[in-house]
């Protein structure tokens, strides 16, 4: 018999209403002191991740959220003995308590932003190659002090009229020059990304309690952000998105929420080899997962 875990709740009481989890099994609470882990029994090994299973996991967590604060556990977390959920709670008790207190009455919203990466890059390259872009001052402090997207200056060694002309330039110098062009374009690209992220974040930052911003996970995916929001301020947060959406821009948005706070659980304690994953325990786990 395996035990499938859904979440940690701030209650040691048995769950009154019937909630069905994976394989249609009823969920129940394994309590430790004043907290509990909500689980259901699993007969089979989880063969594959199906949409139905993931949705079921989510549904159970949401049902729990109507009555308790929930720390959602990652999909497909399975314990192999009845003692394991208990020892996990013993080990992480203080971490779980801290998170439960911090996340009480909070929900999570997600914002993903796609930007027109090719257009942005081309614009930077075009500015860079403008004849007047091969400017007089060196590209450095002046650029940082005052951003001027219409003009990108070259550093002194690459300026027109420097004593090495292109025809007699060594291959090493040409190589550096090309690398330097790439470097400046990349730098400008990163700065442009930061500016765009700042614009988006400004809409939500003042409403959210916490945020996690992942930038440029792919070149097109400018931002993948999660915001932690007070339940009372959900509508305000949704309105902020309406404003952002209606503002003129070339960005595409995916807004979703409210969600359980998947991205805001911070564990300070790490399992050490001595008191949690000792080698025997690890071997035991490995043997069990082999289904000998």
């Amino acid at each position: 018999m395996k035990i499938y875990a859904y979440g940690i709740i701030d209650s040691k009481d048995t769950i009154d209403e019937t909630i069905f989890g994976l394989e249609g099994a009823s969920v129940y609470n394994i309590s430790y002191r004043d907290i509990g882990m909500v689980v259901s029994e699993l007969r089979q090994k989880l063969q594959e991740i199906t949409d139905a299973n993931v949705l079921k996991h989510e549904e159970v967590i949401e049902a729990l959220m109507t009555k308790s604060t929930v720390l959602p556990i990652r999909f497909s977390t399975i314990f192999y003995t009845k003692e394991d959920p208990f020892s996990t709670m013993v080990f992480y008790y203080q971490d779980f308590k801290d998170n439960l207190a911090r996340l009480r009455n909070k929900v999570e919203f997600g914002i993903k932003v796609i930007w027109p990466v090719e257009t942005k890059k081309q614009r930077i390259i075009d500015v860079y190659h403008k004849p007047e872009g091969n400017g007089l001052a060196s590209y450095s402090q002046s650029h940082k002090a005052e951003h001027n997207p219409e003009r990108i200056d070259l550093p002194i060694p690459f300026k027109e009229g420097s004593n090495v002309s292109i025809s007699t330039e060594s291959s090493a110098k040409t190589f550096v020059k090309e690398k330097f062009h790439e470097h400046i374009i990349e730098k400008e690209f990163q700065e442009e990304a930061n500016r765009c992220i700042q614009v988006v974040d400004d809409y939500f930052n003042r409403i959210a309690c916490e945020k996690k911003l992942k930038r440029l996970q792919t070149e097109s995916l400018l931002l993948n952000a999660s915001y932690l929001v007070d339940k009372d301020r959900q509508n305000e947060f949704k309105q902020a998105f309406e404003q952002l959406k209606n503002a003129p821009s070339d960005l595409k948005f995916l807004f979703s929420g409210p969600w359980p706070c998947y991205n805001f659980i911070n564990l300070t304690k790490r399992p050490s080899s001595v008191d949690y994953f000792n080698s025997e325990d690890m071997l035991g786990r490995l043997l069990k997962t082999q289904d000998l």
Binding site: M65, K112, K179, S256, G257
Partner: protein, 113 residues
């Protein structure tokens, strides 16, 4: 669903595509077996060499940007970087590795490069 969830987007397809790309990047691990152990090891070593090469290159570009280098120094850096890059290309060819393969997934920290 018990929560009044909103999922709103004007470009569903584009987001599905990007999210899949992010997920694809996650489960990369080095598969070592007697047949490919040499390539696996080369991949690991070259990944680290490539990381150092890129750091050197970045540092050089910053110094050029700062304007503290003379023409001769820039020339010297150029030659070094060029040779390094060519050597890396050779090694990648020998072991049949592509640029995008030279990366390590550092779990929650994301990719090395």
């Amino acid at each position: 669903m018990t929560m009044e969830r909103i999922i709103e987007t004007d470009s569903q397809e584009a987001f599905i595509q990007e999210v899949e790309k992010v997920q694809d990047a996650l489960p990369s691990r080095i598969n070592a077996n007697p047949k490919n152990v040499e390539k696996g090891l080369a991949k690991l070593v070259l990944t680290l060499v490539e990381l150092i090469r890129k750091l050197l290159e970045k540092q050089a570009m910053r110094r050029i940007e700062g304007g503290s280098l003379s023409e001769e120094e820039i020339e010297g850096i150029g030659e070094t970087l060029m040779k390094l890059e060519n050597k890396m290309k050779e090694l990648k060819d020998i072991f049949g590795l592509k640029d995008e393969e030279l990366n390590l997934n550092l779990g929650p920290l994301g990719d090395l490069m």
